[in-house]
């Protein structure tokens, strides 16, 4: 065991030794520096190992051989070992990363770096407040010096700003130290903490000064312009170290000093943390420079951690876990991002598209972004989960709201950035050169995130049961990404089928989950089959698709809320990547992600309230929410409704589904939307009826569902883009489902299930086929198509059957839904909603006709004369689904009766079966008979016509009577563009994009506010110093003004 004191001794000794070297021997110097950094990393790592594995007791280091408080002592415990290991690892990697720059600037800069890292170690370890001051000064000076590694002219300005601000802060810190010494008679932090000098006025002020200095060192918003500029001006390699190292150490200082003032000071930490978290994130939304953006993001994360420290008395034993998991995510992700920034070398966010040249780096970039936002499986996910749960237990809703709001704002700019990287044109002027010393640190940080995430997950209640097997499969596909499509497709399908079989054995007696398992995994197999017609490797598609399916599976399997939320987020991440693959998908993927995250936070809030109600982590906790019951249910419903794209939350869907790739659209439409349905169903089952708030909520949701249907269907009517039309149609269909489920009777739920199953089948067919046609014809615009029935008869039949189902026309299964629906409505007494829904249902015919007519009927276009039928790989799954529709249509009772029995556990029976005939108190319906009658009659009538027909003459395309002359150009005779102009005149006001306008103005408001606010960052260093003083005075007047 190497004693921790050698961290200081060796680092300083080496630093002094470096001064002996000739200024030309930079190679030797850099070797020595790296050796020094490696050594201190080794020492701290070895202590961490001791504590983790051998459970060693905390070690105290007494300098000069005297016991504290008479001499300075250092502490090496679990926490210190962990943090110093983090700092030293970042230091070592930064040193490696910066090696070329350091060699260029000379040995002095190496010395400074070495001393800097050492000082951070001491800041963490020391238990003496003046010693803390000295080493804080060292780190400040070293920071101001290392900024200059950047050859940019503004580095001096940044350094100067930093020196001025920290000069003021440290001066005041001294006053605080000396007065706390006066009253406590000690400089030892532990003794100071025990001294309770808060009661003396001077002591209270001394504590205030110490606190304000420590907080200011953390660069709280808005007194942090000097810190931001350092992030911006410094070499990214060094910014990484400030962000991961300095922030870590600074936070630990705050943590060490927490007991100094006792609980009365905690709220101030929380408030300042919250302001910093939200304010800095707001600033982040307006940044174009990646380094500055990362700077704001870093500070915001520190704000969040400060908040957590301030809440430590409420979080109890969990504080450290929460803080650590968020800290480590921030640490690794921010370091990784800064290092990446140094590799990309772009001064604006758009330039990051160059990452696409190296997909693996893009993957890492995504990893860091997701880790920062708090997606699974990264540690911050578990930290945030636990944080929100604990806060809810303490009924601390304000902080929960602020934390989630801040996180959301952070997502706004981080995902914009990620979107740029994924979608924008690769800039030609930026070259990414492979340098192992720059790439390796990035790899390691990403690896850290995964490993730590896996490691911390069992520490959260319920986290031990998270099923990582599907994720491992996803990972395997990442590794196999170089293989051709055919192989990967087969592997994926085989894997899913295997898992489905396995899953079914676990889901016995749970019909609801079985149904969704079929939709999710069966749907996965069918939609993946369409992938066989793709060529090449289709890089990145399979891992993402499978990630989405893994998430979906997880939702079904989940027993605890944590598992559910974990899978929910995995699904969101996977689907985001799938959606954004489309050619013009960037804005749509972005809005999808923002709505998803907003929804996820609503869910999180709801889960937290459920957890707080009974400290129950299972999903069943949703059944007995006693804290803010109505709000909890509303939030959960809203969370799920973002996925079902209900009115108000639907604006992401048309673009996201419309612009996605041809086989992604069916995945995200037919399958993914059902995740929201599943969630809503779970929620409503646990919620039950009869609770006052719940019933009101259901009533509102009923209306929302009805209006969603109306808006969705109307929106579809006026589309000229085939896929968008289908997307709007999905909104409408999901509105039906929401409405049906909200009815909360057996009939309503049966209708809901019928719609769910139907929508799954027909929307998969439609998106597959229409998607295939769109690709084949090279246009989304329906008015540029036409006459495809001759070229693609199989597609036509598939689409025809689908639209009959959508329309609810007997005898196909769509009618089953309609029938159940109206009976449910009338039994429930929701007449007007029913009328709206019915109206919407007829409107559906408008778009259905438009779709099939514009694409398949009318005049064939000249440039499409040589078109062939779409790929059999698209038609096969479509026809398999048609078989499904036919079975469901002919034997609805076979499927609906078991569902009804399952539902009768939860609801009073309102439907009974006699053979194939269903009865309600209002009427009856016999799907099988209808099928027989209609089919018989149809065949007879067809026979009648065939019998009566004489010689039928086939005519040429233009053989129509058209104003006494025959037209020759198909364009003039294919009436398809804006065919519902008259209708638009009459009811078009209903499709005014009110919701879009609302969200647009919300975001404009946010950006304008951020733009206004950021004017405080005037760039004038004196103003920044003024901010610091202002911060102190305002804080003082608030905290102690009355004293």
């Amino acid at each position: 065991m190497v004693a921790p004191i050698y961290i200081i001794a060796v680092a300083l000794g080496l630093a002094f030794l470096l001064g002996l070297l000739k200024s030309s021997s930079t190679n030797l110097g850099s070797l020595l520096m790296l050796a020094g950094l490696a050594f201190i990393a080794f020492v701290s790592g070895q202590w961490l190992y001791e504590f983790l594995i051998n459970g060693r007791a905390t070690e105290m280091i007494f300098t000069a051989g005297f016991k504290p408080p008479f001499s300075i002592n250092l502490r090496m415990g679990m926490q210190e070992a962990l943090l110093t290991t983090m700092i030293n690892a970042a230091g070592l990697l930064s040193g490696l990363y910066l090696i070329d720059t350091l060699k260029k600037t000379g040995i002095n800069s190496m010395t400074v770096l070495l001393v800097f890292v050492m000082s951070l170690n001491v800041i963490v370890m020391t238990r003496d407040i003046f010693n803390l001051f000295v080493f804080l000064e060292i780190s400040s000076i070293a920071t101001a010096g290392l900024v200059l590694l950047s050859s940019k002219g503004n580095a001096f300005q940044a350094g100067m700003k930093y020196l001025i601000a920290t000069g003021i802060i440290s001066g005041l810190f001294l006053i605080g130290i000396i007065f706390s010494y006066l009253y406590a008679g000690s400089l030892n932090i532990d003794e100071l903490n025990a001294a309770h000098i808060m009661d003396i006025k001077g002591g209270a002020i001394a504590i205030f000064i110490i606190y304000v200095s420590v907080i200011l060192e953390l660069k709280p918003f808005p007194a942090n312009g000097w810190g931001i500029d350092v992030y911006t001006a410094a070499k990214p390699g060094f910014s990484a170290l400030i962000s991961s190292g300095t922030a870590t150490a600074g936070l630990y200082v705050a943590y060490k000093l927490l007991p100094l003032g006792g609980e009365t000071w905690l709220p101030y930490f929380t408030i300042i943390g919250a302001i910093t978290f939200i304010g800095s994130n707001l600033m982040g939304t307006r940044q174009q420079n990646p380094n500055r953006l990362l700077g704001y993001s870093s500070i915001s994360q520190v704000g969040l951690l400060l908040m957590i420290l301030g809440l430590s008395n409420q979080l109890g034993d969990n504080t450290l876990f929460i803080a650590f998991s968020i800290l480590i995510s921030h640490y690794a992700a921010k370091a990784g991002l800064f290092w990446l920034s140094g590799i990309v070398k772009s001064q604006n966010l758009e330039g990051w598209a160059v990452l696409r040249k190296q997909p693996f780096m893009l993957f890492l970039f995504g990893t860091f972004i997701f880790a920062l936002i708090g997606f699974p499986p990264f540690p911050s996910f578990f930290g945030k989960w636990q944080l929100i749960m604990e806060l809810a237990t303490q009924e601390n809703y304000l902080w929960m709201t602020l934390i989630l709001t801040g996180s959301f704002i952070e997502a706004i700019y981080l995902f914009k950035w990620l979107g740029f990287a994924i979608k924008l044109d690769v800039p030609s002027n930026i070259v990414m050169k492979f340098e192992w010393n720059k790439y390796l640190p990035v790899y390691l940080m990403a690896l850290t995130l995964y490993v730590i995430g896996f490691y911390v997950s069992p520490m959260v209640e319920g986290g031990a049961f998270i099923n990582y097997i599907p994720l491992l499969f996803v990972l395997a596909l990442f590794a196999l990404d170089f293989l051709p499509v055919f192989v990967k497709n087969t592997i994926s399908i085989a894997g899913i089928i295997y898992y489905m079989v396995d899953l079914f054995s676990q889901l016995e007696n749970d019909l609801m989950r079985q149904i969704f398992a079929v939709i999710f995994l069966g749907g996965a197999v069918l939609t993946l089959m369409a992938g066989y017609n793709k060529k090449g490797t289709r890089a990145g598609f399979y891992p993402m698709a499978l990630m989405m399916f893994a998430g979906l599976t997880g939702i079904i399997e989940a027993n605890s809320m944590l598992e559910f939320f974990f899978s929910w987020e995995i699904m969101t991440a996977g689907s985001y990547f799938l959606i954004i693959r489309g050619k013009r998908s960037m804005p749509h993927g972005y809005s999808y992600m923002l709505f998803s995250i907003g929804g996820a936070y609503a869910l999180l809030f709801g889960f937290a309230l459920a957890y707080a109600s009974g400290l129950d982590t299972t999903i069943a906790a949703l059944g007995h929410i006693t804290q803010l019951t109505t709000l909890a249910y509303t939030l959960l419903a809203v969370g799920f409704m973002t996925k079902t794209a209900s009115l108000g939350l639907h604006i992401w869907l048309p673009g996201a589904h419309g612009e996605a790739e041809s086989d992604v659209s069916p995945m995200v439409s037919a399958i993914l939307l059902k995740a929201g349905v599943f969630g809503l169903m779970l929620l409503f089952l646990y919620m039950g009826t009869g609770t006052e708030g719940g019933d009101k909520l259901l009533y509102v949701l009923g209306w929302v569902g009805a209006l969603t249907t109306l808006v969705g269907n109307l929106g579809a009517v006026f589309q000229e883009d085939a896929k968008r039309l289908l997307a709007y149609s999905s909104i409408g269909q999901l509105g039906y489902i929401l409405f049906a489920v909200s009815i909360m009777t057996q009939l309503g739920w049966l209708a809901g299930f019928t719609y769910t199953i139907n929508h799954f089948m027909f929307k998969a067919i439609l998106f597959l086929v229409i998607g295939g046609i769109v690709v084949k014809l090279g246009t989304h615009n329906m008015y540029e198509m036409g006459g495809m029935i001759k070229k693609m008869p199989f597609s036509f039949i598939a689409v025809l059957i689908s639209i009959i189902v959508i329309g609810g026309i007997p005898p196909l299964s769509g009618f089953a839904g309609k029938w159940l629906f109206y009976h449910a409505i009338i039994q429930k007494g929701w007449y007007f909603q029913g009328a709206v829904i019915f109206f919407a249902g007829i409107i559906a015919f408008l778009y259905l006709f438009k779709l099939i007519h514009s694409v398949f009927l009318g005049q064939l276009k000249d440039n499409h004369r040589n078109m062939k039928e779409i790929s059999p790989w698209i038609l096969i799954p479509s026809y398999l689904l048609i078989i499904g529709i036919m079975i469901f249509s002919a034997f609805p009772q076979k499927i609906l009766q078991p569902i009804g029995e399952m539902l009768s556990v939860y609801f009073p029976e309102s439907l009974h079966w006699e053979g194939t005939k269903a009865y309600t108190s209002l009427g009856y319906w016999d799907g099988t008979t209808i099928m027989i009658v209609v089919m018989t009659a149809f065949i007879l009538l067809l026979g009648w016509l065939v019998l009566m027909s004489k010689k039928i003459k086939k005519v040429e395309q233009f053989n129509i009577v058209y104003a006494a002359e025959r037209p020759f150009r198909p364009e003039t005779t294919h009436v398809s563009y804006n065919i519902y102009a008259g209708y638009k005149k009459a009811v078009g006001f209903l499709v005014t994009p009110v919701v879009e306008i609302f969200w647009d103005s919300m975001s404009a408001l946010l950006f304008d506010f951020a733009g206004w606010l950021r004017r405080i960052y005037s760039g004038n260093m004196q103003n920044y110093a003024l901010h610091v003083v202002l911060f102190i005075v305002v804080f003082y007047l608030i905290a102690l003004g009355g004293l």
């Binding site: 300083l12 630093a15 002094f16 005297f66 008479f70 020391t126 010693n131 200059l148 000690s186």
Partner: protein
Amino acid sequence: MIKKLLIVGLLTGLAFMFYGLLISYNGNETLTGLGSYYAQNGAREVGAANLVSAIVVTYRGLDTLGEVTILFLAAAIIGFVLKLKKDEVVEARPVRETSELLTSASQVIVPVIFLVGVYIFINGHLTPGGGFQGGAVIASGVLLMLLANPTMHISHNIVATIESISGIAFVAIGILGIVLAGGFLDNRLLPLGEFGTLLSAGAIPLIYIFIGLKVGAELSNIIGTISYNQNEKPN
């Protein structure tokens, strides 16, 4: 103007805070806390007559090491800052001829100044003064040399070598403290000797020598770097 008013307002706020500190300060009647411990035990434990030195070098030796490091850092940073953009053309004034008197006087006085500096840091454990003060005095000697001969180029190598070696020695003594005595920078690795004599207080004089040398070298280095740059001739 508004800004000035704001500043005045803020300073008033700070004054308000200081006023709070002031009114709760009653002046110390007796020695309490840490101070009383050092007063009672410092001399016995460490063996230095000058308790400030005892604290600076031994009890709070780590601070002192940090402090030396800060100067070292400052020197290093100034070193590489002024090295940056070396090719920049600096218009220097023609160097004024120094008077004969100053030149010859400096040749006499500088060694004396150095001696005084050394005296101050060697006796740091007995009398007021110590490594920093002595170092500062040595630096002023260097300064005088520079004044006497502005074109003189202080040999970076010599200064840096002194600086580094004394720094390393400082750390090495600290480590020896762990090996031979109670902990890092423990002065008792050498016998405490007879109280009040030059060779007492264990390793304090030794440490102070290195601190003095180091501080002197660092300060000289800073001054030298700045002045060297100043006198750089355009070429």
